[in-house]
Protein backbone atom coordinates (compact mmCIF):
# COMPACT_ATOMS: atom_id res chain seq x y z
CA UNK A 1 0.00 0.00 0.00
CA UNK A 2 1.11 3.53 -0.73
CA UNK A 3 2.96 4.89 2.34
CA UNK A 4 1.60 8.37 1.65
CA UNK A 5 -1.91 6.98 1.74
CA UNK A 6 -1.19 5.38 5.10
CA UNK A 7 0.21 8.67 6.40
CA UNK A 8 -2.78 10.75 5.32
CA UNK A 9 -5.33 8.14 6.38
CA UNK A 10 -3.72 7.85 9.82
CA UNK A 11 -3.64 11.60 10.36
CA UNK A 12 -7.27 11.87 9.19
CA UNK A 13 -8.38 9.30 11.75
CA UNK A 14 -6.16 10.61 14.57
CA UNK A 15 -7.30 14.16 13.90
CA UNK A 16 -10.94 13.10 13.99
CA UNK A 17 -10.44 11.26 17.27
CA UNK A 18 -8.60 14.26 18.72
CA UNK A 19 -11.52 16.54 17.79
CA UNK A 20 -13.78 14.38 19.96
CA UNK A 21 -11.33 14.02 22.84
CA UNK A 22 -10.00 17.55 23.20
CA UNK A 23 -11.98 19.96 25.34
CA UNK A 24 -10.93 23.39 24.18
CA UNK A 25 -12.79 24.93 21.25
CA UNK A 26 -9.65 26.15 19.53
CA UNK A 27 -7.87 22.81 19.82
CA UNK A 28 -10.92 21.09 18.39
CA UNK A 29 -10.87 23.47 15.43
CA UNK A 30 -7.15 22.84 14.98
CA UNK A 31 -7.59 19.07 14.92
CA UNK A 32 -10.55 19.45 12.59
CA UNK A 33 -8.27 21.34 10.21
CA UNK A 34 -5.69 18.56 10.48
CA UNK A 35 -8.33 15.94 9.72
CA UNK A 36 -9.93 17.81 6.82
CA UNK A 37 -6.56 18.78 5.38
CA UNK A 38 -5.51 15.14 5.40
CA UNK A 39 -8.71 14.29 3.54
CA UNK A 40 -7.61 16.84 0.94
CA UNK A 41 -4.29 14.98 0.76
CA UNK A 42 -6.17 11.72 0.18
CA UNK A 43 -8.07 13.39 -2.67
CA UNK A 44 -4.77 14.50 -4.20
CA UNK A 45 -3.50 10.92 -3.97
CA UNK A 46 -6.65 9.71 -5.70
CA UNK A 47 -5.89 12.13 -8.59
CA UNK A 48 -8.95 14.23 -7.83
CA UNK A 49 -7.10 17.53 -7.76
CA UNK A 50 -10.14 19.76 -8.19
CA UNK A 51 -11.99 18.10 -5.33
CA UNK A 52 -8.87 18.36 -3.18
CA UNK A 53 -8.42 22.07 -3.85
CA UNK A 54 -12.11 22.63 -3.18
CA UNK A 55 -11.81 20.66 0.04
CA UNK A 56 -8.99 22.93 1.15
CA UNK A 57 -10.84 26.08 0.14
CA UNK A 58 -14.29 25.27 1.50
CA UNK A 59 -13.87 22.87 4.39
CA UNK A 60 -10.57 24.02 5.83
CA UNK A 61 -11.45 27.67 5.16
CA UNK A 62 -14.91 27.05 6.60
CA UNK A 63 -13.38 25.66 9.77
CA UNK A 64 -11.45 28.90 9.98
CA UNK A 65 -14.68 30.90 10.06
CA UNK A 66 -16.03 28.42 12.60
CA UNK A 67 -12.97 29.08 14.72
CA UNK A 68 -13.46 32.83 14.52
CA UNK A 69 -17.06 32.53 15.61
CA UNK A 70 -16.08 29.99 18.24
CA UNK A 71 -13.73 32.56 19.71
CA UNK A 72 -16.09 35.49 19.35
CA UNK A 73 -19.22 33.81 20.71
CA UNK A 74 -17.76 31.88 23.64
CA UNK A 75 -16.16 33.22 26.81
CA UNK A 76 -12.53 33.98 26.05
CA UNK A 77 -9.43 32.37 27.48
CA UNK A 78 -7.59 29.30 26.24
CA UNK A 79 -8.03 27.53 29.57
CA UNK A 80 -11.77 27.15 28.98
CA UNK A 81 -12.84 23.52 28.99
CA UNK A 82 -16.01 22.11 27.56
CA UNK A 83 -17.89 19.57 29.68
CA UNK A 84 -20.29 17.27 27.93
CA UNK A 85 -23.26 15.95 29.94
CA UNK A 86 -23.78 12.14 29.84
CA UNK A 87 -27.11 12.38 28.02
CA UNK A 88 -25.47 14.18 25.13
CA UNK A 89 -22.72 11.57 25.00
CA UNK A 90 -25.36 8.83 24.75
CA UNK A 91 -27.16 10.63 21.91
CA UNK A 92 -23.85 11.25 20.13
CA UNK A 93 -22.87 7.57 20.42
CA UNK A 94 -26.20 6.47 18.95
CA UNK A 95 -25.92 8.91 16.05
CA UNK A 96 -22.30 7.89 15.44
CA UNK A 97 -23.18 4.21 15.36
CA UNK A 98 -26.04 4.85 12.96
CA UNK A 99 -23.73 6.81 10.69
CA UNK A 100 -21.13 4.05 10.85
CA UNK A 101 -23.84 1.57 9.84
CA UNK A 102 -24.81 3.74 6.87
CA UNK A 103 -21.22 4.13 5.71
CA UNK A 104 -20.51 0.44 6.16
CA UNK A 105 -23.59 -0.62 4.21
CA UNK A 106 -22.68 1.81 1.42
CA UNK A 107 -19.10 0.61 1.20
CA UNK A 108 -20.05 -3.03 1.20
CA UNK A 109 -22.65 -2.33 -1.49
CA UNK A 110 -20.09 -1.12 -4.05
CA UNK A 111 -18.55 -3.55 -6.50
CA UNK A 112 -14.89 -2.70 -5.87
CA UNK A 113 -13.50 -5.20 -8.37
CA UNK A 114 -14.92 -3.15 -11.21
CA UNK A 115 -13.50 0.09 -9.85
CA UNK A 116 -10.01 -1.30 -9.70
CA UNK A 117 -10.00 -1.97 -13.41
CA UNK A 118 -10.77 1.69 -14.09
CA UNK A 119 -8.06 2.79 -11.68
CA UNK A 120 -5.51 0.53 -13.36
CA UNK A 121 -5.87 2.43 -16.65
CA UNK A 122 -4.19 5.44 -15.12
CA UNK A 123 -0.52 5.95 -15.74
CA UNK A 124 1.73 6.26 -12.72
CA UNK A 125 3.95 9.25 -12.08
CA UNK A 126 3.52 12.99 -11.97
CA UNK A 127 3.21 14.08 -15.55
CA UNK A 128 0.39 15.88 -17.22
CA UNK A 129 -1.66 12.87 -18.23
CA UNK A 130 -1.52 10.87 -15.04
CA UNK A 131 -2.17 13.66 -12.67
CA UNK A 132 -5.85 14.25 -12.00
CA UNK A 133 -6.52 17.05 -14.46
CA UNK A 134 -10.19 16.76 -13.66
CA UNK A 135 -10.89 20.46 -13.90
CA UNK A 136 -11.89 20.72 -17.55
CA UNK A 137 -14.27 17.73 -17.61
CA UNK A 138 -15.91 18.95 -14.40
CA UNK A 139 -16.28 22.48 -15.77
CA UNK A 140 -17.74 21.26 -19.05
CA UNK A 141 -20.13 18.94 -17.21
CA UNK A 142 -21.34 21.86 -15.11
CA UNK A 143 -22.03 23.75 -18.35
CA UNK A 144 -24.07 20.83 -19.62
CA UNK A 145 -21.50 19.27 -21.98
CA UNK A 146 -20.30 15.71 -21.41
CA UNK A 147 -17.51 14.92 -23.84
CA UNK A 148 -16.52 11.83 -21.87
CA UNK A 149 -19.98 10.24 -22.00
CA UNK A 150 -21.81 10.42 -25.30
CA UNK A 151 -25.48 11.23 -24.91
CA UNK A 152 -25.29 11.99 -21.20
CA UNK A 153 -26.70 15.31 -20.07
CA UNK A 154 -24.60 17.60 -17.92
CA UNK A 155 -25.36 19.30 -14.65
CA UNK A 156 -26.39 22.74 -15.88
CA UNK A 157 -29.71 22.80 -14.03
CA UNK A 158 -28.32 21.75 -10.59
CA UNK A 159 -25.47 24.20 -11.08
CA UNK A 160 -27.86 27.06 -11.81
CA UNK A 161 -30.11 26.13 -8.88
CA UNK A 162 -27.13 26.12 -6.52
CA UNK A 163 -25.91 29.45 -7.94
CA UNK A 164 -29.28 31.12 -7.45
CA UNK A 165 -29.50 29.64 -3.97
CA UNK A 166 -26.09 31.03 -3.04
CA UNK A 167 -27.02 34.41 -4.50
CA UNK A 168 -30.15 34.44 -2.33
CA UNK A 169 -28.02 33.59 0.71
CA UNK A 170 -25.60 36.41 -0.12
CA UNK A 171 -28.40 38.94 -0.50
CA UNK A 172 -29.93 37.70 2.74
CA UNK A 173 -26.62 38.09 4.56
CA UNK A 174 -26.19 41.59 3.19
CA UNK A 175 -29.75 42.39 4.30
CA UNK A 176 -29.12 41.12 7.82
CA UNK A 177 -25.84 43.00 8.12
CA UNK A 178 -27.12 46.25 6.63
CA UNK A 179 -27.18 49.51 8.56
CA UNK A 180 -30.30 49.51 10.68
CA UNK A 181 -33.01 52.02 9.78
CA UNK A 182 -32.58 55.18 11.74
CA UNK A 183 -35.38 56.05 14.13
CA UNK A 184 -36.12 59.66 14.83
CA UNK A 185 -34.48 59.73 18.26
CA UNK A 186 -31.35 57.71 17.61
CA UNK A 187 -27.95 59.16 17.05
CA UNK A 188 -26.88 58.87 13.38
CA UNK A 189 -23.31 58.12 14.47
CA UNK A 190 -24.41 55.08 16.46
CA UNK A 191 -26.36 53.78 13.48
CA UNK A 192 -23.34 54.09 11.24
CA UNK A 193 -21.12 52.28 13.74
CA UNK A 194 -23.51 49.38 14.14
CA UNK A 195 -23.60 49.05 10.36
CA UNK A 196 -19.84 48.80 10.16
CA UNK A 197 -19.63 46.22 12.90
CA UNK A 198 -21.45 43.66 10.79
CA UNK A 199 -19.11 43.91 7.84
CA UNK A 200 -16.46 41.29 8.68
CA UNK A 201 -19.08 38.57 8.51
CA UNK A 202 -19.50 38.96 4.76
CA UNK A 203 -16.59 36.69 4.04
CA UNK A 204 -18.16 33.58 5.51
Amino acid sequence: MNPLFLLFATSTCLGAIAVVISQSVVRMAFWLVVSLGSVAGLFFLADADFVAATQLLIYVGGTLVLLIFGIMLTPSGPALKLKTPPAEIAVAVVIGLLFLLTVFSTISGVDWEQKEIVAADRQPGFDDQSEGQTLRPIGLALLGVRPDKAGASGYLLPFEIVSVHLLAVLIGAAYLARAKQRTRNSNPDAARKSGNAGDPNHGG
Binding site: G132, L135, G203
Partner: protein, 424 residues
Amino acid sequence: MSAVLASNSIAEYLHSPGLPLLGPISEGTALLAASMFHLALLFHVFAICPAVFIWLERKASGRIQDRLGPTRVGGRFGWLQSLADGIKLVQKEDLCPPAADGLLFRMAPYIVCLSSFAAFVVLPFSDGWVAVSADCGLLILLSVLSLEVFGIILAGYCSGSKWSLFGGMREAAQMVSYEIPLSICALIPVISAGSLNLGEVGRMQGGHVLNWFLFHDPFTFIAFFVYFTVAIASCKRAPFDLAEAESELVGGFHTEYSGMRWSFFFMGEYASMFAVSCVASLLFLGGWHTGLPFVDGFLTGLRDAGRGTEGFSILGYLANVLGAGVFATKASTLVFVQIWVRWTLPRLRIDQVMTTCLKYLLPISCVLFLGATVWPLLLLTTGRTTWLPEPIGERAVSSMTTTAEIEESPSSDMASSNSGAELQ
Protein backbone atom coordinates in the same frame (compact mmCIF):
# COMPACT_ATOMS: atom_id res chain seq x y z
CA MET B 1 1.53 19.27 -23.17
CA SER B 2 4.88 19.81 -24.74
CA ALA B 3 6.86 20.51 -21.57
CA VAL B 4 8.13 17.43 -19.82
CA LEU B 5 8.14 17.94 -16.09
CA ALA B 6 11.46 17.67 -14.35
CA SER B 7 10.18 15.34 -11.66
CA ASN B 8 8.93 12.93 -14.25
CA SER B 9 12.19 12.89 -16.17
CA ILE B 10 14.18 12.48 -12.95
CA ALA B 11 11.96 9.62 -11.87
CA GLU B 12 12.30 8.01 -15.30
CA TYR B 13 16.07 8.39 -15.22
CA LEU B 14 16.35 6.84 -11.77
CA HIS B 15 14.00 4.07 -12.76
CA SER B 16 15.89 3.23 -15.94
CA PRO B 17 17.88 -0.03 -15.85
CA GLY B 18 21.16 1.49 -17.06
CA LEU B 19 21.83 3.50 -13.95
CA PRO B 20 25.45 3.16 -12.79
CA LEU B 21 26.46 2.01 -9.29
CA LEU B 22 23.02 1.49 -7.80
CA GLY B 23 21.30 -0.81 -10.24
CA PRO B 24 17.59 -0.54 -10.94
CA ILE B 25 15.50 1.37 -8.39
CA SER B 26 11.87 0.68 -7.78
CA GLU B 27 9.38 3.16 -9.16
CA GLY B 28 8.17 4.37 -5.79
CA THR B 29 11.71 5.12 -4.61
CA ALA B 30 12.49 6.93 -7.85
CA LEU B 31 9.40 9.09 -7.46
CA LEU B 32 10.25 9.78 -3.84
CA ALA B 33 13.80 10.81 -4.78
CA ALA B 34 12.47 13.08 -7.53
CA SER B 35 10.00 14.75 -5.20
CA MET B 36 12.72 15.20 -2.57
CA PHE B 37 14.83 16.92 -5.22
CA HIS B 38 11.97 19.30 -5.97
CA LEU B 39 11.34 19.90 -2.31
CA ALA B 40 14.97 20.84 -1.74
CA LEU B 41 14.97 23.26 -4.70
CA LEU B 42 11.72 24.92 -3.65
CA PHE B 43 12.87 25.15 -0.07
CA HIS B 44 15.90 27.11 -1.20
CA VAL B 45 13.67 29.53 -3.10
CA PHE B 46 11.46 29.79 -0.04
CA ALA B 47 14.39 30.44 2.29
CA ILE B 48 16.37 32.83 0.08
CA CYS B 49 13.39 35.07 -0.77
CA PRO B 50 12.93 36.39 2.78
CA ALA B 51 16.67 36.88 3.26
CA VAL B 52 16.99 38.97 0.11
CA PHE B 53 13.74 40.88 0.57
CA ILE B 54 14.38 41.71 4.21
CA TRP B 55 17.74 43.15 3.21
CA LEU B 56 16.00 45.03 0.39
CA GLU B 57 13.40 46.30 2.80
CA ARG B 58 16.05 47.62 5.20
CA LYS B 59 18.01 49.22 2.41
CA ALA B 60 14.98 50.72 0.63
CA SER B 61 13.43 52.01 3.84
CA GLY B 62 16.76 53.59 4.75
CA ARG B 63 17.05 55.32 1.40
CA ILE B 64 13.42 56.51 1.50
CA GLN B 65 13.98 57.97 4.96
CA ASP B 66 17.26 59.58 3.87
CA ARG B 67 19.41 57.09 5.80
CA LEU B 68 21.99 54.64 4.56
CA GLY B 69 20.46 51.44 5.86
CA PRO B 70 22.78 48.51 6.63
CA THR B 71 26.31 49.24 5.47
CA ARG B 72 28.78 47.05 7.36
CA VAL B 73 27.82 43.38 7.56
CA GLY B 74 29.27 41.49 4.62
CA GLY B 75 30.87 44.35 2.78
CA ARG B 76 29.81 47.57 1.20
CA PHE B 77 26.04 47.22 0.91
CA GLY B 78 25.47 45.23 4.09
CA TRP B 79 24.13 42.34 2.07
CA LEU B 80 24.75 39.83 4.87
CA GLN B 81 22.53 41.78 7.28
CA SER B 82 19.72 39.19 7.05
CA LEU B 83 22.13 36.42 8.01
CA ALA B 84 23.30 38.44 11.02
CA ASP B 85 19.64 38.97 11.96
CA GLY B 86 19.06 35.25 11.68
CA ILE B 87 22.01 34.42 13.94
CA LYS B 88 20.78 36.96 16.49
CA LEU B 89 17.27 35.48 16.41
CA VAL B 90 18.51 31.91 16.83
CA GLN B 91 20.35 32.94 19.99
CA LYS B 92 17.23 34.40 21.61
CA GLU B 93 15.30 32.44 24.20
CA ASP B 94 12.28 30.51 22.98
CA LEU B 95 9.58 31.88 25.26
CA CYS B 96 6.12 30.49 25.84
CA PRO B 97 3.91 32.49 28.22
CA PRO B 98 2.26 30.50 31.05
CA ALA B 99 -1.22 31.68 29.98
CA ALA B 100 -0.70 30.33 26.46
CA ASP B 101 -1.90 27.06 25.00
CA GLY B 102 1.56 25.56 24.58
CA LEU B 103 0.98 23.13 21.71
CA LEU B 104 -0.89 25.54 19.46
CA PHE B 105 1.34 28.46 20.43
CA ARG B 106 4.38 26.54 19.22
CA MET B 107 2.56 25.16 16.18
CA ALA B 108 1.21 28.44 14.76
CA PRO B 109 4.44 29.76 13.14
CA TYR B 110 4.91 26.47 11.31
CA ILE B 111 1.37 26.65 9.89
CA VAL B 112 2.08 30.13 8.50
CA CYS B 113 5.38 28.98 6.97
CA LEU B 114 3.93 25.75 5.61
CA SER B 115 1.04 27.39 3.82
CA SER B 116 3.17 29.95 2.06
CA PHE B 117 5.73 27.26 1.20
CA ALA B 118 3.03 25.03 -0.26
CA ALA B 119 2.02 27.82 -2.63
CA PHE B 120 5.37 27.46 -4.42
CA VAL B 121 4.61 23.87 -5.38
CA VAL B 122 2.27 24.78 -8.24
CA LEU B 123 4.19 27.89 -9.32
CA PRO B 124 5.98 27.58 -12.67
CA PHE B 125 9.28 29.46 -12.75
CA SER B 126 9.89 28.90 -16.45
CA ASP B 127 8.41 26.89 -19.29
CA GLY B 128 7.99 23.47 -17.70
CA TRP B 129 9.92 24.34 -14.55
CA VAL B 130 7.21 23.50 -12.09
CA ALA B 131 7.05 20.93 -9.31
CA VAL B 132 3.42 19.96 -9.92
CA SER B 133 1.73 21.04 -13.12
CA ALA B 134 -1.86 20.90 -11.95
CA ASP B 135 -4.79 21.81 -14.13
CA CYS B 136 -6.34 23.80 -11.31
CA GLY B 137 -3.00 25.25 -10.17
CA LEU B 138 -4.31 28.73 -9.44
CA LEU B 139 -7.17 27.32 -7.37
CA ILE B 140 -4.76 25.20 -5.32
CA LEU B 141 -2.43 28.16 -4.87
CA LEU B 142 -5.15 30.52 -3.66
CA SER B 143 -6.71 27.95 -1.36
CA VAL B 144 -3.34 27.10 0.19
CA LEU B 145 -2.35 30.73 0.62
CA SER B 146 -5.64 31.43 2.37
CA LEU B 147 -4.66 28.95 5.09
CA GLU B 148 -1.98 31.35 6.27
CA VAL B 149 -4.54 33.33 8.24
CA PHE B 150 -5.32 30.19 10.23
CA GLY B 151 -1.86 30.15 11.78
CA ILE B 152 -2.16 33.84 12.56
CA ILE B 153 -5.50 33.50 14.30
CA LEU B 154 -4.15 30.54 16.26
CA ALA B 155 -1.11 32.60 17.24
CA GLY B 156 -3.31 35.50 18.31
CA TYR B 157 -5.70 33.41 20.32
CA CYS B 158 -3.36 30.91 21.90
CA SER B 159 -0.88 33.51 23.19
CA GLY B 160 -3.24 34.13 26.09
CA SER B 161 -2.84 37.88 25.69
CA LYS B 162 -5.42 40.52 24.87
CA TRP B 163 -3.14 42.39 22.47
CA SER B 164 -2.52 39.23 20.50
CA LEU B 165 -6.22 38.38 20.42
CA PHE B 166 -7.13 41.82 19.10
CA GLY B 167 -4.39 41.58 16.49
CA GLY B 168 -5.58 38.15 15.41
CA MET B 169 -9.16 39.33 15.13
CA ARG B 170 -8.21 42.35 13.04
CA GLU B 171 -6.21 40.04 10.84
CA ALA B 172 -9.07 37.57 10.50
CA ALA B 173 -11.55 40.27 9.48
CA GLN B 174 -9.08 41.73 7.02
CA MET B 175 -7.79 38.59 5.34
CA VAL B 176 -11.13 36.81 5.08
CA SER B 177 -12.63 39.90 3.44
CA TYR B 178 -9.73 40.54 1.07
CA GLU B 179 -9.70 36.96 -0.16
CA ILE B 180 -12.88 37.59 -2.15
CA PRO B 181 -11.64 40.46 -4.38
CA LEU B 182 -8.27 38.66 -4.65
CA SER B 183 -9.89 35.56 -6.12
CA ILE B 184 -12.19 37.57 -8.40
CA CYS B 185 -9.29 39.66 -9.74
CA ALA B 186 -7.20 36.53 -10.31
CA LEU B 187 -10.11 35.07 -12.26
CA ILE B 188 -10.28 37.97 -14.73
CA PRO B 189 -7.17 37.03 -16.77
CA VAL B 190 -8.18 33.38 -16.37
CA ILE B 191 -11.39 34.17 -18.29
CA SER B 192 -9.26 35.44 -21.16
CA ALA B 193 -6.88 32.50 -20.93
CA GLY B 194 -9.47 29.77 -20.47
CA SER B 195 -7.19 27.79 -18.17
CA LEU B 196 -6.35 27.68 -14.50
CA ASN B 197 -3.04 25.97 -15.21
CA LEU B 198 -0.45 28.64 -14.44
CA GLY B 199 2.03 27.16 -16.89
CA GLU B 200 -0.48 27.33 -19.74
CA VAL B 201 -1.44 30.89 -18.81
CA GLY B 202 2.24 31.87 -18.94
CA ARG B 203 2.84 30.09 -22.24
CA MET B 204 -0.05 31.93 -23.90
CA GLN B 205 1.52 35.34 -23.38
CA GLY B 206 4.68 34.83 -25.41
CA GLY B 207 5.74 36.70 -28.49
CA HIS B 208 4.92 40.32 -27.93
CA VAL B 209 4.35 42.66 -25.03
CA LEU B 210 0.82 43.24 -26.31
CA ASN B 211 0.14 39.55 -25.75
CA TRP B 212 0.41 40.06 -22.01
CA PHE B 213 -2.93 39.83 -20.33
CA LEU B 214 -2.32 43.28 -18.87
CA PHE B 215 -3.00 44.71 -22.33
CA HIS B 216 -5.61 42.16 -23.34
CA ASP B 217 -8.58 44.41 -22.68
CA PRO B 218 -9.34 47.45 -20.52
CA PHE B 219 -10.77 45.28 -17.75
CA THR B 220 -7.64 43.18 -17.26
CA PHE B 221 -5.60 46.38 -17.28
CA ILE B 222 -7.54 47.80 -14.33
CA ALA B 223 -7.76 44.35 -12.74
CA PHE B 224 -3.97 44.22 -12.45
CA PHE B 225 -3.89 47.30 -10.23
CA VAL B 226 -6.85 46.12 -8.18
CA TYR B 227 -5.19 42.71 -7.80
CA PHE B 228 -1.95 44.29 -6.69
CA THR B 229 -3.68 46.45 -4.07
CA VAL B 230 -5.60 43.47 -2.75
CA ALA B 231 -2.45 41.34 -2.78
CA ILE B 232 -0.67 43.90 -0.60
CA ALA B 233 -3.56 43.72 1.85
CA SER B 234 -3.72 39.95 1.83
CA CYS B 235 -0.01 39.82 2.67
CA LYS B 236 -0.88 42.20 5.53
CA ARG B 237 1.64 44.75 4.30
CA ALA B 238 1.42 48.47 4.90
CA PRO B 239 -0.78 50.46 4.41
CA PHE B 240 -2.98 47.52 5.46
CA ASP B 241 -0.71 46.07 8.18
CA LEU B 242 -3.19 46.41 11.01
CA ALA B 243 -2.30 42.92 12.16
CA GLU B 244 1.15 44.07 13.16
CA ALA B 245 1.28 47.85 13.59
CA GLU B 246 4.22 47.58 15.94
CA SER B 247 4.40 51.15 17.15
CA GLU B 248 0.75 52.17 17.36
CA LEU B 249 -1.09 49.06 18.50
CA VAL B 250 1.57 47.35 20.66
CA GLY B 251 2.18 44.69 18.07
CA GLY B 252 -0.51 42.36 16.91
CA PHE B 253 -0.80 38.60 16.89
CA HIS B 254 2.94 38.17 17.50
CA THR B 255 3.19 40.23 20.70
CA GLU B 256 4.15 37.19 22.78
CA TYR B 257 6.55 35.61 20.28
CA SER B 258 10.30 35.88 20.34
CA GLY B 259 13.33 34.49 18.60
CA MET B 260 13.00 32.09 15.69
CA ARG B 261 9.27 31.57 16.09
CA TRP B 262 8.73 35.28 15.65
CA SER B 263 10.92 35.28 12.55
CA PHE B 264 9.00 32.35 11.06
CA PHE B 265 5.99 34.64 10.73
CA PHE B 266 8.07 37.07 8.76
CA MET B 267 9.60 34.35 6.60
CA GLY B 268 6.06 33.34 5.74
CA GLU B 269 5.06 36.93 5.09
CA TYR B 270 7.95 37.70 2.75
CA ALA B 271 7.59 34.37 0.95
CA SER B 272 3.90 34.99 0.35
CA MET B 273 4.71 38.50 -0.86
CA PHE B 274 6.91 36.85 -3.44
CA ALA B 275 4.25 34.24 -4.21
CA VAL B 276 1.47 36.77 -4.91
CA SER B 277 3.92 38.83 -6.99
CA CYS B 278 4.78 35.69 -8.97
CA VAL B 279 1.08 35.10 -9.55
CA ALA B 280 0.66 38.72 -10.67
CA SER B 281 3.53 38.45 -13.13
CA LEU B 282 2.23 35.10 -14.44
CA LEU B 283 -1.36 36.23 -14.83
CA PHE B 284 -0.81 39.76 -16.08
CA LEU B 285 2.81 40.42 -16.99
CA GLY B 286 3.69 37.60 -19.32
CA GLY B 287 5.37 35.23 -16.87
CA TRP B 288 8.83 34.24 -18.07
CA HIS B 289 8.50 36.04 -21.43
CA THR B 290 10.43 39.24 -21.95
CA GLY B 291 7.79 40.78 -24.20
CA LEU B 292 10.34 41.60 -26.89
CA PRO B 293 9.51 39.57 -30.02
CA PHE B 294 13.10 38.82 -31.10
CA VAL B 295 14.26 37.74 -27.61
CA ASP B 296 11.16 35.65 -27.01
CA GLY B 297 11.41 34.07 -30.43
CA PHE B 298 15.07 33.23 -29.85
CA LEU B 299 14.37 31.66 -26.44
CA THR B 300 11.42 29.67 -27.75
CA GLY B 301 13.62 28.44 -30.58
CA LEU B 302 16.27 27.33 -28.08
CA ARG B 303 13.61 25.54 -26.04
CA ASP B 304 12.20 23.76 -29.08
CA ALA B 305 15.70 22.73 -30.15
CA GLY B 306 16.29 21.37 -26.66
CA ARG B 307 13.03 19.49 -26.76
CA GLY B 308 13.89 17.88 -30.05
CA THR B 309 17.05 16.24 -28.73
CA GLU B 310 17.06 13.14 -26.58
CA GLY B 311 17.88 13.39 -22.89
CA PHE B 312 19.35 16.46 -21.27
CA SER B 313 19.90 19.44 -23.56
CA ILE B 314 22.05 22.36 -22.57
CA LEU B 315 20.24 24.76 -24.94
CA GLY B 316 16.78 24.13 -23.54
CA TYR B 317 18.19 24.34 -20.04
CA LEU B 318 19.87 27.66 -20.82
CA ALA B 319 16.64 29.07 -22.25
CA ASN B 320 14.78 28.01 -19.13
CA VAL B 321 17.41 29.57 -16.87
CA LEU B 322 17.04 32.86 -18.74
CA GLY B 323 13.25 32.55 -18.52
CA ALA B 324 13.40 31.93 -14.80
CA GLY B 325 15.66 34.97 -14.47
CA VAL B 326 13.17 37.16 -16.31
CA PHE B 327 10.34 35.78 -14.18
CA ALA B 328 12.20 36.35 -10.91
CA THR B 329 13.09 39.88 -12.00
CA LYS B 330 9.45 40.72 -12.69
CA ALA B 331 8.26 39.25 -9.40
CA SER B 332 11.06 40.95 -7.43
CA THR B 333 10.19 44.29 -9.01
CA LEU B 334 6.64 43.87 -7.79
CA VAL B 335 7.95 43.01 -4.32
CA PHE B 336 10.06 46.15 -4.45
CA VAL B 337 6.95 48.18 -5.27
CA GLN B 338 5.27 46.64 -2.22
CA ILE B 339 8.22 47.74 -0.07
CA TRP B 340 8.16 51.19 -1.66
CA VAL B 341 4.43 51.54 -0.91
CA ARG B 342 5.00 50.45 2.67
CA TRP B 343 7.49 53.21 3.40
CA THR B 344 5.56 55.86 1.49
CA LEU B 345 1.93 55.60 2.52
CA PRO B 346 0.57 56.04 6.05
CA ARG B 347 -1.35 53.22 7.71
CA LEU B 348 -5.15 53.04 7.44
CA ARG B 349 -7.48 52.54 10.41
CA ILE B 350 -9.17 49.13 10.64
CA ASP B 351 -12.60 50.47 9.65
CA GLN B 352 -11.01 52.24 6.69
CA VAL B 353 -9.34 48.97 5.70
CA MET B 354 -12.67 47.16 5.79
CA THR B 355 -14.44 49.98 3.93
CA THR B 356 -11.79 49.96 1.22
CA CYS B 357 -12.34 46.27 0.67
CA LEU B 358 -16.09 45.85 0.98
CA LYS B 359 -17.31 49.15 -0.41
CA TYR B 360 -14.73 49.84 -3.11
CA LEU B 361 -12.48 46.94 -4.11
CA LEU B 362 -15.16 44.25 -4.05
CA PRO B 363 -17.68 46.12 -6.27
CA ILE B 364 -14.87 47.25 -8.59
CA SER B 365 -13.64 43.70 -9.02
CA CYS B 366 -17.19 42.41 -9.62
CA VAL B 367 -17.74 45.04 -12.33
CA LEU B 368 -14.38 44.16 -13.91
CA PHE B 369 -15.29 40.48 -13.81
CA LEU B 370 -18.59 41.14 -15.59
CA GLY B 371 -16.87 43.39 -18.11
CA ALA B 372 -14.19 40.79 -18.85
CA THR B 373 -16.92 38.21 -19.53
CA VAL B 374 -18.85 40.51 -21.85
CA TRP B 375 -15.77 41.86 -23.69
CA PRO B 376 -15.27 38.86 -26.06
CA LEU B 377 -18.95 38.95 -26.98
CA LEU B 378 -18.65 42.67 -27.70
CA LEU B 379 -15.65 42.01 -29.94
CA LEU B 380 -17.56 39.21 -31.63
CA THR B 381 -20.60 41.35 -32.41
CA THR B 382 -18.59 44.29 -33.70
CA GLY B 383 -16.55 41.92 -35.85
CA ARG B 384 -13.18 43.00 -34.51
CA THR B 385 -10.58 40.46 -33.55
CA THR B 386 -8.27 40.51 -30.59
CA TRP B 387 -4.64 39.47 -30.36
CA LEU B 388 -5.42 36.48 -28.22
CA PRO B 389 -7.34 33.25 -28.81
CA GLU B 390 -10.99 33.30 -29.68
CA PRO B 391 -13.69 34.04 -27.08
CA ILE B 392 -14.32 31.60 -24.31
CA GLY B 393 -17.59 30.19 -25.63
CA GLU B 394 -16.04 29.01 -28.86
CA ARG B 395 -13.01 27.70 -27.09
CA ALA B 396 -15.05 25.48 -24.77
CA VAL B 397 -16.79 23.95 -27.77
CA SER B 398 -13.56 23.45 -29.70
CA SER B 399 -11.84 21.79 -26.75
CA MET B 400 -14.89 19.57 -26.43
CA THR B 401 -14.59 18.45 -30.02
CA THR B 402 -10.87 17.79 -29.77
CA THR B 403 -11.43 15.73 -26.64
CA ALA B 404 -14.14 13.80 -28.43
CA GLU B 405 -11.72 13.07 -31.25
CA ILE B 406 -9.24 11.61 -28.79
CA GLU B 407 -11.97 9.42 -27.37
CA GLU B 408 -12.67 8.06 -30.84
CA SER B 409 -9.07 7.25 -31.67
CA PRO B 410 -7.35 5.90 -28.56
CA SER B 411 -4.57 4.47 -30.70
CA SER B 412 -3.11 7.90 -31.44
CA ASP B 413 0.22 8.41 -29.79
CA MET B 414 0.76 10.40 -26.64
CA ALA B 415 2.13 13.52 -28.30
CA SER B 416 -0.92 14.11 -30.45
CA SER B 417 -3.35 13.50 -27.58
CA ASN B 418 -1.34 15.97 -25.57
CA SER B 419 -1.64 18.67 -28.14
CA GLY B 420 -5.34 17.90 -28.49
CA ALA B 421 -5.90 18.24 -24.78
CA GLU B 422 -4.18 21.56 -24.86
CA LEU B 423 -6.22 24.62 -25.37
CA GLN B 424 -6.00 25.50 -28.99
